[in-house]
């Protein structure tokens, strides 16, 4: 026990010295760690935030059992420490690589608290003063020490918030995510709107197979399956075994096992059985030009899988491959939608379809996201 204690504490100190100026904020929790022997079980210190075992997916915070009874006063201390830490960031991340600023981090902190608290507890208790509420205990889904560690990871290591809590809210879904799986982006939500628009005006497309290539967390596949509303099937593929596991878990959570099938493999390889039969093909493939990878925002560059980001020299490798595949995979009248890096790539794809696949597609166009960037290319197979 004693060893664990000093080890755990030392580990944190080492990290902290690496991040100048934070040590003043860290002091109270360290003190607390030392002085609270009951909090030092190995499960608390090393379980929940350790890297996932390769065999299974990581259970996101909000789905865990609220079994860590914690005095509200301790939680309040943690929260005020974490708020100060977030405030100390100011706009330094924003300036350096367009990362989160204090206000964004503070909001994330509230969400972290929301996810960590047992469901029936109102998170506003964090602001309630008075002896009665402070002496009260609430159940957390992870130990308070883990919360300290998680928040240090968020600020110091720039570990993405979604990996910290193990989930991403996307459309009306809550998808589990973990290291090794791309965190679905808000922009990508629009692909589901595009799918919904298309099937509402072309009901025939509701039937039959849809494919989401490079599914990652399964976001587009699950969103599409729900848009299909009980008709049709979605096949989701991914090269990464972690992604396959996470996507399968998410599919299960939404009770779509009978509708979405997750297959491991590269792009069209696992789809030989449905060649020429696809009613729709949707994908958010890696499209960042290789040269941009080193300069990415820390949350992305340091933590998210390169496999899901790097699109080759001009970022077009996979997009063109998908375009090409779409020509042979889609049935007549089949729809496809791809996410791209923006206007330049979208235009290149439209040109490519015009030149290399003349007469293969119709109604090809670039569609903007909510920021006005021409983010998507959609077309139909002739």
């Amino acid at each position: 026990m004693e060893e664990l204690n000093s080890h755990g504490t030392r580990q944190m100190k080492v990290r902290l010295t690496g991040f100048g100026g934070l040590s003043t904020f860290i002091r109270p929790p360290l003190h607390r760690l030392k002085s609270t022997p009951c909090a030092l079980s190995s499960s608390v210190l090393f379980s929940s935030s350790s890297p996932p075992a390769s065999q299974s997916h990581q259970v996101p915070l909000f789905l865990r059992v609220p079994k860590y009874a914690t005095p509200v006063s301790d939680l309040q201390k943690w929260y005020s420490w974490a708020s100060d830490l977030a405030a100390s960031v100011g706009s330094t991340f924003l300036v350096s690589d367009n990362g989160p600023d204090s206000s964004l981090l503070c909001r994330e902190l509230r969400w972290l608290l929301e996810d960590a608290l047992q469901e029936d507890i109102d998170p506003s208790l964090i602001h309630q003063v008075g002896v009665n509420s402070a002496q009260r205990e609430v159940n957390l889904k992870t130990g308070i020490e883990d919360l300290y560690k998680l928040w240090i990871q968020r600020i110091e290591e720039r570990r993405p918030f979604q990996y910290i809590v193990g989930c991403e809210h996307w459309r009306d879904l809550v998808l589990c995510v973990q290291e090794g799986v791309l965190i679905p982006r808000p922009e990508t939500e629009i692909i589901i709107d595009l799918v919904a628009d298309v099937i509402s005006s072309n009901r025939g497309l509701k039937e039959g197979f849809w494919a989401d290539l490079g599914t990652g967390s399964g976001a587009i596949a699950i969103g599409t399956a729900r848009a299909l509303g009980g008709c049709g099937n979605v096949i989701a593929t991914d090269l990464s075994p972690v992604a396959v596991k996470v996507a399968s878990f998410n599919v299960q959570r939404y009770g779509l096992q009978g509708v979405v099938e997750v297959r491991e493999g590269s792009w069209f390889e696992p789809l030989k059985d449905v060649q020429g039969k696809l009613a729709g093909l949707v994908s958010n493939p890696p499209y960042i030009p290789s040269e941009n990878i080193p300069g990415l925002q820390a949350e992305v560059g340091r933590h998210e899988p390169k496999l899901a980001l790097d699109g080759g020299v001009d970022g077009m490798d996979h997009l063109l491959h998908l375009c090409q595949g779409a020509a042979s995979m889609l049935r007549t009248g089949g729809f496809f939608a791809l996410e791209t890096n923006g206007e330049k790539q979208s235009k290149l794809i439209l040109d490519y379809m015009e030149k290399e696949h003349r007469g293969t597609f119709y109604n090809a166009k670039a569609v903007p996201d909510f920021a006005g960037v021409l983010r998507f290319v959609t077309a139909f197979r002739v």
Partner: protein, 511 residues
Amino acid sequence: MLLRRSRSVSSLQTNVVRPLFSSSSEPQTTLPSSSLGSACPVEDSSTTGSSSCSPGILNSPHGSCRKSALQKSLFLASAHDFAKNSCWGSPSTLSSVAWRTHDFGGLRLLGTQAAVEASTSDGLTVDRILSNQWPILDENESDWKSHATAISQSINLIKRRLQWKKLLVRLQLLSAQLEKPDIWDDPAHAGRISREQGSLMSKMKQVVAFERELLEHIDMIKLAREENDSDLELDSLNALLRMRRISKEKELEALLAGEQDSCSCYIEVQAGAGGTESMDWAAMVMQMYRLWAQGRGYGITVVDEMLGDVAGIKRATIKVDGEYAFGYAKSEVGVHRLVRISPFDSNKRRHTSFAAVAVIPITGDGSTHVQINESDLRIDRFRAGGAGGQHVNTTESAVRIVHIPTGITVTCQNERSQHQNKASAMAVLQSRLDQLEKARQTQMNMEHTQSLTDNSWGNQIRSYVMHPYRMVKDLRTNFEVSNPDSVLNGDIDGFIMSYLSASVDKDGDSQ
């Protein structure tokens, strides 16, 4: 007597009426009109009693009613009386459909009936009770005159707050409109008229029923004395005591008789000019409402929140869910002023800051539901920067929706997905457009007296002074409290009630 009570309850137009005196959201039971002729009074009374958990006429003393021969005879007498001389007794008035289709003569009578004062068997009316100027003793004194006087005072106050005469005139006007054969050619218009008519009708009936109940209990006491039935006398006296207690709640609830008062609402707070100090003030104001709403048991959801750079908020919107949230919170609309030594001023100077508060009802009943045209909207990703897409990991998915025809702009950034932010922003936009439409209708409809300019954005309504003295004062009512801390901790009901009574009672007096 029992029959009469159950009728007044059962004849509400339940699909559209929010019971004025009920804090329960349970739907009321509508009894078929045919059950009235043969209905067993005890059964009726239990049905109505269980249809609402609120105090008031619904939980009348008759749950514990003794079925003495005396009472039975009294019941029969009054039921007979009732059927003979009033439209209340006409079964067809009990169905809203019947109202619309043929029994309009009865309906007009109903209005007149309410105007005619109810009285006891020996001619005692509410006004006469009051003119007797019996002393009002403590509740614990078993004196029926004292109870009756207190209840009568409440009834008068409630009538004033409901703008009783105006209400009856309006009710007749609406009923007349509903009689027109072509009214349903414009179903939306007819729906509005019918809803308003139903709502006014139920308010009117509840007051009338309350008044009748009072007089019946007085009759009962007199009768009990004649018959030397001390049990019955005690029962009736207790019934009066219960009414007396309930009447205080009814007085308050009568303040919230507006069509939208029972709705949930959004509360928006925006910091005035003045940087960090006023952003901190805006946050304090918002916190005051959160604590107030919490204390009332309302649900609170943060819809939008723009934090200040150093402290506080630039603006924020919360959704307050619960009955009468709008009715109460609407009193807070306007500019709130703070005077204090700013903690953000190193020279410890006194600062004056402002925060503006807007309150928007969430009607949701479709009464003023503006159809939003997708093509009138411009939706953008708010605060999106850089290349976006895979380049960026952010939990920021704020959406800004601009309604081009009106220029109304709504942002929502507190949901965890863009989709939810959009949905949430759309809900706020819907409510704002509904409010705008409502305001337009109100302006067109001169029958409505509440003027929007009283409440408009930009009017300073309250001053919170921390230094050199400590006081919170409402500039509209002059209501003041010398402890700003308790007010900022959400204790604002005093301000709300005094404003509501001042505005409602003033209107009532001017009739």
